[in-house]
C-alpha cells in the first residue's frame, strides 16, 4: 500500500489486516508509555484545508505515538491565504523531506490529485463530498467489535447523504465486509443517480426511517452539513428532526443494544437527540478511540515497511 485515497483501493484482505493491526494498537492506548518506535525518523504532515477537530488531532496523536515527527499545516495561517495554489503548497512542503501527507480538502478528488504530484504517501482525510476512508474503516472496526462479523448484519445509514463523504466511504467498506446496508434520507438529500449506484453496489435506499430502524443491527447517523448547503434542502430544522432525526421515540423502535454511531461533530437536537447521543448503546466516543487505533494502523502500513 502506497496511498490510502479511497476504500475502493483496499481489498477485503487488506481491510482485515488493518483491523488486526488496529486491535494491537488499541492496547497501546491503555499503556502508561503510549509510544512505539516504528516510525522513528519519519515525518508526517497534516494538511487541513477544512476545519476539523477529531480527524486532525487523531492523525496527529497517531503519528506521534508511532514516534513520527508530525506537523500541522492549515489553510488559515498558511501561504494558501496569500493565494498559493494547492500544487505549490504541497510541493513546497514535500521539498522538506516529508514521508507522509495527510490531506483534507473541500474539493472532491484533491487527495488523488496530490498523490500524483508527490513521492510521499498520501492519506485522504476527507476530500469534499467524495470520500473519507479512515472514517469508514473506524466505523466498520467499531461495529465489528460490537457485532462480531459484519457478514449479513444490517446497517442503516441515515441523514444528509448528498453531502456526505462518510456515507460514500462507508457504503463501500461495509458492503465489502458483507454487511447489508440501507441508506435513508429525505428525497432532497438523496444523491441524484443513487438508484443505479445502489443497484450496482448492492445496497438499499429508503425514505422511511421508522420502517428501517426496527430491523437494523446498527445505526449510523450522519451530520446535516449546513456549511455545504447552498439551497433549501428542508423547510426547517424542526421538520428535518421530525422526519429523519434519531429522536427519543425512534430510539424505542430499535432492537435492544443496537450500536448507534455518529461521525461527529453532532448537531444535538437536529439529526440526533441527546437521549440517543448519550444512550448506553451510543458508541460515539468509542469511535474516537477506535479512530486513533485505525489511523495508527494506516500510518504503520503506509510508512513502516520498505518503499514499494
Amino acid at each position: 500500500m502506497k496511498h490510502l485515497l479511497s476504500i475502493d483501493d483496499l481489498s477485503t484482505d487488506e481491510i482485515g489486516q488493518l483491523f488486526e493491526t488496529a486491535a494491537d494498537m488499541h492496547d497501546v492506548q491503555k499503556r502508561e508509555v503510549k509510544k512505539l518506535p516504528a516510525l522513528r525518523g519519519r515525518t508526517v504532515v497534516n494538511m487541513f484545508f477544512e476545519d476539523s477537530t477529531r480527524t486532525r488531532s487523531s492523525f496527529e496523536i497517531a503519528g506521534k505515538w508511532l514516534s513520527a515527527d508530525v506537523i500541522n499545516v492549515s489553510a488559515k495561517g498558511s501561504s494558501t491565504s496569500k493565494g498559493e495554489s494547492l500544487r505549490d503548497t504541497v510541493l513546497t512542503v514535500c521539498a522538506m523531506g516529508v514521508d507522509g501527507l495527510v490531506i483534507r480538502h473541500p474539493a472532491s478528488g484533491a487527495a488523488l490529485q496530490v498523490s500524483q504530484w508527490v513521492d510521499a504517501s498520501v492519506v485522504n482525510a476527507g476530500d469534499g463530498m467524495h470520500e473519507h476512508p479512515t472514517q469508514a474503516l473506524l466505523d466498520a472496526y467499531t461495529l465489528q467489535r460490537h457485532l462480531g462479523s459484519l457478514e449479513g448484519r444490517h446497517v442503516a445509514i441515515i441523514g444528509d447523504l448528498t453531502h456526505s463523504r462518510v456515507f460514500r466511504s462507508n457504503v463501500q467498506c461495509l458492503t465489502k465486509l458483507g454487511a447489508r446496508v440501507t441508506v435513508v434520507a429525505p428525497p432532497t438529500l438523496m444523491p441524484s443517480g443513487i438508484a443505479s449506484w445502489s443497484a450496482a453496489a448492492g445496497f438499499e435506499t429508503s425514505y422511511d426511517v421508522d420502517a428501517v430502524l426496527p430491523e437494523a443491527d446498527a445505526v449510523m447517523m450522519l451530520r446535516v452539513q449546513r456549511e455545504r448547503m447552498s439551497g433549501a434542502f428542508f423547510p426547517s430544522p424542526r421538520e428535518y428532526t421530525v422526519g429523519y432525526g434519531l429522536t427519543r421515540n425512534r430510539l424505542a423502535l430499535l432492537k435492544p443494544d443496537v450500536p448507534i454511531c455518529h461521525p461527529g461533530p453532532m448537531n444535538r437536537g437536529l439529526e440526533i437527540a441527546a437521549d440517543a447521543a448519550d444512550a448506553t448503546q451510543s458508541v460515539v466516543l468509542e469511535q474516537v478511540s477506535s479512530g486513533l487505533a485505525i489511523r495508527m494502523a494506516v500510518l504503520y502500513h503506509l510508512l513502516a515497511g520498505e518503499e514499494a
Binding site: M1, Q17, E20, T21, A23, D24, M25, D27, R31, E32, V33, K35, L36, P37, A38, L66, Y300, H301, A304, G305, E306
Partner: protein
C-alpha cells in the same frame, strides 16, 4: 517412517525431537526455579510467534512442580525491530501482560531460537516501555550462535553450533502441528 538422517529425500536433519524438546523445557523450568528460588514474582513472556507456546509449556511445568500457577504473557516486538524499513510491512501481534504487570517482577523472555540477538534487543526496548522489571532473563530453546549484539541467554535448551548459511527451524505442535527442531 524413514529415518530423516538417512532419508535421501530430506535435506534437513532433526536435532531435537518431541521428547528432546520436552526434556529441554523441563530442565529450563527447573533451572528457572532454582535461580529464582521459587516461582514468586516470576513472569514468563513468550516472544511471537513460537516463544509464546514455549512460555506456556514452561509455565505448565513450573506449575506442576510448585503446585501454583505462574504468570505468563506474550510480547510482540514488531514495532521495535531495527529492520522494519528494509522489509515489507510486517504484521504486528498482540502484546498481553499478566494481570500483575511486570513492575518489580523477574521477567523471563522466552524465544525459540537465539541468533543475531536483534529480536532480544527489540524485546528489551519494548519491556522498558511497559514497565520496570527487577530483572530480565532470557530462556531459549536453541542457541545457534552468530550474535551481532552483546546479548546472551541465561537458559538454553540446546547449543547448536551452525554455519551462517544453515537454516534452523523450530516446529511446535501449537503452531505447526508437530514438535521438532531441524537444521538444513
Amino acid at each position: 517412517m524413514a529415518d530423516p538422517d538417512t532419508d535421501p529425500t530430506r535435506s534437513d536433519r532433526t536435532v531435537l525431537d518431541a521428547r528432546d524438546i520436552s526434556r529441554a523445557l523441563t530442565r529450563i523450568s527447573h533451572e528457572l526455579l532454582e535461580r529464582n528460588k521459587g516461582a514468586t514474582d516470576l513472569v514468563l513472556l513468550g516472544l511471537h510467534t513460537r516463544g509464546v507456546p514455549l512460555a506456556r509449556r514452561i509455565a505448565e511445568k513450573i506449575a506442576a512442580v510448585e503446585g501454583a500457577p505462574v504468570a505468563v504473557g506474550e510480547l510482540d516486538v514488531t514495532m521495535y525491530r531495527d529492520d522494519l524499513r528494509s522489509q515489507p510491512t510486517r504484521r504486528a501481534h498482540k502484546t498481553a501482560l499478566p494481570a500483575g504487570g511486570i513492575d518489580r517482577k523477574v521477567v523471563v523472555l522466552v524465544d525459540d531460537v537465539l541468533f543475531s540477538g536483534r529480536t532480544i534487543r527489540a524485546a528489551l526496548d519494548a519491556l522498558a516501555d511497559l514497565g520496570r522489571p527487577s530483572a530480565v532473563r532470557l530462556a531459549v530453546l536453541v542457541d545457534r550462535g552468530h550474535r551481532e549484539l552483546p546479548i546472551r541467554a541465561d537458559h538454553v535448551g540446546k547449543n547448536l553450533p551452525s554455519a551462517l548459511a544453515e537454516r534452523v527451524s523450530v516446529r511446535l505442535a501449537e503452531v505447526d502441528g508437530t514438535d521438532e527442531v531441524t537444521i538444513s
